[in-house]
């Protein structure tokens, strides 16, 4: 077995340090790395010369577990990967299995799925905003963001009983009907949300210190982003106008009007603007969807025991973090033969090295925050 190791940070004992270089370890426990992420930085004074991300602290073997569960039994596991945006994970998985079965969820289910997924996108971005601002030193936005997120989680709780790991969808549609007052709750939240998001913008967007800390930090060019397989808001902030909801529409997205925000530079400030704008667009989709939820069945006829015909499928959705894909191989039995999750956070985190080189140590925390990773998804 050939061992092609380079003398990078990969092998600390043989790393050659220049006269002024030190290796700084941001250990797995640190107030700023969101989850258990370890980053080794090689510093020349204040500048980062090289970096290495060490992951795997939260590896739980989800893909192995999938091979020993039936398709329905595996659905709750999926929530626990990107635990901040569980509803999206569930949507991707359910749609992938539906594609494998050749089934399709009825229109009512598709619209309700869209509404819940967009609310989840807002919730995920709110959490990102709060923690990112906290890392950069703004102590207050995190509380406001969590207050808004609380409203969304209350809606989820009323709908399916859980706030965080919701298991909201089923293969073939939905299990629960929308509760009485669902439309009015969502509508009230969306209407309130406009001026809340204006509040956050007032606090941060034009703030000289915020701009100073985020502009020009962690620049990722469009070519680099595509070559590194980066997707989601990070890609859009680098100038590539691409969103799976428009490119390959799923659920009910084809029926609604919304814009795809992009920004030219690909620095931290741009990623911030893109995510803020995405929240507004999500709210727009929700308002359109809530106007007209079609009546009808919420579950397609897929039977209790799922035995998809042998074959394979790859289906992906635009999760809040990027392109979340499921590659499922079926061998005709009730248990999947292989479930591969294409984790957007894992692939986006690879771009960290490219973004962090040449920046200052104080910016490393901002760069980790701006990629918006969830270690549950990175490690699975």
């Amino acid at each position: 077995m050939t061992d092609t190791r380079t003398s990078g940070l990969s092998n600390v004992e043989t790393t050659v340090l220049g006269a002024d270089e030190i290796i700084l370890n941001m250990g797995p426990q640190h107030p700023s790395t969101h989850g258990v992420l370890r980053v080794k930085l090689k510093l020349d004074g204040e500048r980062v010369v090289d970096s290495e991300c060490i992951i795997g602290y939260l590896h739980r073997g989800v893909e192995k577990i999938a091979e020993h569960r039936s398709y329905q039994q595996f659905a709750p596991y999926v929530d626990r990967m990107d635990y901040v945006a569980a509803v999206s994970n569930g949507l991707g998985y359910c749609e992938a299995v539906e594609k494998l079965l050749g089934a399709e969820a009825p229109p009512r289910a598709r619209v309700v799925r869209t509404i819940l997924t967009e609310l989840q996108r807002i919730a995920s971005h709110l959490l990102w905003l709060g923690t990112h601002a906290l890392d950069i030193g703004a102590l207050t936005p995190v509380f406001y963001c969590f207050r808004e997120r609380e409203e969304i989680l209350k809606i989820f709780e009323k709908y399916c009983g859980a706030r965080l790991t919701t298991h909201a969808f089923r293969i073939g549609g939905l299990q629960y009907e929308t509760y009485d007052g669902f439309e009015s709750d969502v509508k009230r939240f969306c209407e309130d949300f406009t001026h809340r998001i204006d509040e956050y913008e007032t606090l941060l967007t034009e703030n000289r210190i915020w701009v100073g800390r985020t502009k020009g930090v962690g620049i990722l060019s469009a070519a680099d982003a595509i070559a590194l397989g980066v997707t989601g808001p990070v890609l859009r902030a680098s100038g590539v106008k691409w969103d799976l909801r428009k490119a390959m529409p799923y659920a009910a997205y084809a029926d609604y009007q919304f814009d795809i925000p992009t920004r030219p530079t690909g620095d931290t400030y741009d990623r911030y603007i893109v995510r803020m704008e995405e929240m507004r667009q999500s709210q727009r989709i929700c308002l359109q969807a809530i106007e007209n939820i079609p009546a009808g069945a919420i579950m397609a006829k897929v039977g209790k025991v799922l035995k998809p015909p042998p074959g394979e499928v790859y289906h992906s959705i635009e999760a809040p973090k990027g392109e979340l894909g499921y590659y499922i191989v079926s061998d005709g039995t009730t248990q999947a033969y292989r479930v591969r999750v294409r984790p957007p956070s894992f692939i986006n985190l690879q771009a960290f090295d490219r973004m962090a080189r040449g920046s200052l140590v104080a910016d490393v925390v901002a760069i980790i925050g701006t990629i918006d990773i969830v270690l549950g998804e990175v490690d699975r």
């Binding site: 077995m1 050939t2 061992d3 092609t4 190791r5 380079t6 990078g8 990969s10 992951i55 795997g56 590896h59 073997g61 893909e63 192995k64 091979e67 594609k99 494998l100 050749g102 595509i226 070559a227 590194l228 397989g229 980066v230 590539v240 691409w242 490119a247 390959m248 015909p309 042998p310 074959g311 394979e312 499928v313 790859y314 992906s316 392109e323 894909g325 590659y327 191989v329 033969y337 292989r338 591969r340 294409r342 894992f346 692939i347 985190l349 690879q350 490690d379 699975r380």
Partner: protein, 168 residues
Amino acid sequence: MAPVPLDNEFVERLKVKFGNAIREATLDRKQAIVNVEAMRLREISRYCRDEEKFDMLVDLTAVDWPNREKRFDVIVILYSFQKNERVRLKTHLGDGELVPSLCEVWPAANWLERECFDMFGIVFEGHPNLKRILLPEEWEGHPLRKDYDILKQDTAWVRENLGIESGQ
């Protein structure tokens, strides 16, 4: 629902360029799968990226079919922004065989190949830093292989670092 053979212009061009290296092309659930020869994976990928404009590597993974002679399937999923299409390249690989690394073609392949190595033990030739990514470096065994079960998790690393005594 069963996979049907695929014969469109894209496959034609591939066959013209690479001849026998293109083993089979099918369409499963309306998704294109092209089965290629392992050793030429890098060339074919580069061709797909440059000529066919499949500029993004979406995913790189593997599947284990232990009953087959060449037990591993290495799957490369590509996406073209221009054409808004995906294609799946698949190669069959035996245990211990090498497959060329795609890191030069897409830097995104770096961690994806490390994960394949970690989970399956597939060695990518030419990878700059092929070591385990999700599991600790001293771990023995490759978990996503079908013959890996819970008893195999009783490794030296677990005994030393987690203090869990072997039950065997």
